[in-house]
């Protein structure tokens, strides 16, 4: 049996999305900037995609910028926001559990003379709001906090954080990396009270190379890519029409009968967690997100367990997929003060609606068989 439980890394594209994209690559392939009909048609697909996304996250179409993915969205929000605000100050606040596309961007800004404060999280992975309150300063210009953590699935209280920031100084920009929340949680950017919010297409059955950034109307952000002035100067470069349209359609599809889907995915996650934690020395570190289970198999290095599962057709991640080409102890797991014996032995299982109960039960059974074998052979 094959069981792909690495859906927080990437997902299969919906067949409807694939078909639409093929059409846009072979028939309606015009450049949206062209003045003729083919150009106008292409532009319509972009408008349509914007409306599909705007409808789900409750914003205006003009508040969306399409990018090449979550990483670019985060870069644009943070660098673009910091540049636009640099006369007001150079202080930025973020957390110590962010994705590399945020933390590495912060490192860059730090070298450029910005002052970055990292706030910590408690043992469940939630941002310490008191620390945030203390960190806010007169010269704070930007706060960036992720919505759902990609490694353990903690959901941050974004609305509360927004309230804290805005009551201190409503000119401070608040950016949210929502890559793991988009399509998994239903939210309204207005109700959350955020200024910018990053999304990715390929985590929700859209194509890789697609993403979007919500920028609240009248918020000043400096572009980070220059050229022909597409997307109202915010992001130059011929729009990736197939990817944008694909992401739009994927957004519409994933939010269809959403509550039912999420309930089902959550059920798979709970079933899996209660199944594997019955085994000795297996611990659950998962947060509230419906689709992410973080499990520690004490005594087995995560990479060994990963490859042993792979051999049985079960695909998972050690830490997050993005950091797997640079094996190191995850800073997220360290931030939640995980005991040392679990740090090296934690895997992420992430689910979608096409996963089945049979797959989950199969994985539980396989893990039960692997544990005693793999635990017999360890470094002494």
């Amino acid at each position: 049996m094959e069981a792909y439980f690495d859906n927080a890394a990437t997902t299969a594209v919906y067949p409807e999305v694939r078909d639409l994209m093929v059409k846009l690559m072979t028939e309606d392939y015009g450049n949206p900037s062209s003045l003729h009909m083919k150009g106008v048609d292409a532009e319509k697909y972009i408008k349509n995609a914007a409306s599909q996304i705007a409808k789900e996250i409750k914003c205006q179409e003009k508040e969306l910028v399409f990018t090449s993915g979550g990483t670019e969205s985060n870069n644009l929000a943070i660098i673009g926001g910091a540049m636009a605000k640099r006369r007001a100050g150079k202080h930025i606040i973020t957390t110590n559990i962010e994705h590399a596309s945020v933390s590495a961007t912060m490192d860059f800004l730090s070298k450029e003379g910005y002052d970055i404060t990292y706030i910590g999280v408690d043992s469940t992975g939630h941002v310490k709001l008191d620390e945030l309150k203390c960190a806010l300063r007169e010269d704070t210009i930007l706060v960036s906090v992720m919505y759902v953590n990609n490694e353990i699935g903690t959901i941050q209280p974004i609305a509360d954080i927004a309230a804290i920031i805005k009551s201190y100084n409503d000119k401070i920009l608040f950016h949210v990396d929502a890559v793991q929340a988009f399509g998994k949680l239903r939210f309204s950017v207005k109700k959350l009270g955020v200024d910018m919010l990053s999304m990715s297409g390929h985590k929700i059955h859209g194509p890789k190379g697609s993403g979007a950034l919500y920028i609240k109307d009248k918020t000043l952000v400096r572009p980070i890519i220059y050229g022909g002035g597409q997307q109202k100067e915010m992001r130059s470069g011929t729009e990736n029409v197939p990817a944008i349209a694909g992401m739009g359609l994927a957004t519409e599809l994933i939010y269809k009968e959403h509550e039912k889907k999420i309930e089902y995915i959550n059920m798979l996650k709970d079933r899996f967690i209660s199944g594997v934690t019955k085994y000795e020395d297996v611990f659950d570190n998962s947060g509230e997100a419906p689709h992410i289970a973080s499990i520690s198999f004490v005594g087995i290095r995560s990479e060994v367990m990963l490859h042993a599962l792979e051999d049985k057709g079960i695909y998972v991640s050690a830490g997050s997929a993005c950091s797997s080409n640079k094996p190191h102890i995850s800073n997220v797991l360290k931030a939640i003060d995980m005991p040392d014996d679990r740090l090296e032995s934690t895997l992420r299982f992430s689910f979608i609606e096409t996963n089945t109960v049979e797959q989950v039960d199969y994985a539980i059974e396989v893990i039960g068989e692997l544990l005693p074998f793999l635990r017999r052979y360890i470094r002494k």
């Binding site: 490859h307 042993a308 640079k326 094996p327 793999l374 470094r379 002494k380």
Partner: protein
Amino acid sequence: MNYKMFLIKYAEIGTKGKNRYVFEEVMCKRMRARLKPLGQFEVRREYGRIFVEAFSDYDYEEVMQVLGTVFGIVGICPVCVVENVDYDSISKAVVEYVGGEYKNKDFTFKVQTRRNNKAFPKSSMDMNCDLGADLLAAYPEMKVDVHKPEVMIDVEIRNVVYIYSKIIPGPGGLPVGTNGKGMTLLSGGIDSPVAAYMIAKRGVEIEAVYFHAPPYTSERAKQKVVDLARLVSQYAGVIKLNIINFTDVQLAIYDNCPHDELTIIMKRIMYRMAQELAIKNDCQCIITGESIGQVSSQTTQSLYVIDQAADKLPVFRPCIGLDKQEIIDISEKIGTYETSILPYEDCCTTFVAKHPVTKPKLSDIEESEKALEGKIEELYNKAMDTIEVIYCR
């Protein structure tokens, strides 16, 4: 300036008596193969020299890089070719050549003419004097020094005329394929690709063996070894990479032998497997990247005990006396370093003990290995019967 021709200099193979023809031909073949994707080239031997002539446009840097990977070449001289064989044309070409090649003309020089075409009216001595005089007239800053010139300007008169003065150093060594074949234990680290390179440089064809231990080592670790073999193959030619699934053997050692001797016993079995494979595939030696004292299994005591396992073939360890930094320097030069440092676990480190033996005794190890008797043979044979082969080029 794009040269139409290159003169290939080789030193060591010139001394090999009757074998010289074979050595040259192997080297030419290798050059032809490496140059093929870069354009139309003819590699030919004439009057005991090797020339590369270009018949299409090419990228100079690319050609130099490729020729720099052919062992046997000690120097590459870019040659300016003059079609008209008369004194005025030659003189004009030499003056233009020197003008273009050397921006700063404050150097001593000597003209050295060779006259293969005896029909040419001027003697070599006269040519040297006259061309020297023409150069001095054109560039008064230049000075003649016939004993120790800084620049030697070679002029060869044949049915066309060749002018050259610069020698770009080649990799040296002997052409691969002129000195038998060796089985390299390739681990994915920094040392073993360097060892393969160093032995290939002496003309030895390279075959390799990698011990794969899933799930303890990953597909990416295996891919890394394939990538390393490909990089070495730039120098060594196609490398046949044998991948042995070592997991079951490794676990059997774990189950039956003292833990602090695990690495030594494991390496002894690897040596046995490599030797068996080497003999089967017509290799005359085993090649490893070991360097004295680098890790516990590379103390002289450990090396002695491990070495005893390969009782039929010599084990060549070209890195044995090099410091880590010296090995790194070579790996950077040959372009394997970046790949070698990718952090994937190899099977030698999977179960490595916290305190492995550093001064093993052969008798103790042999005693410990007795526990494997009757348990490992089947696993050993299965591993040897299920070898995966990848040709890396």
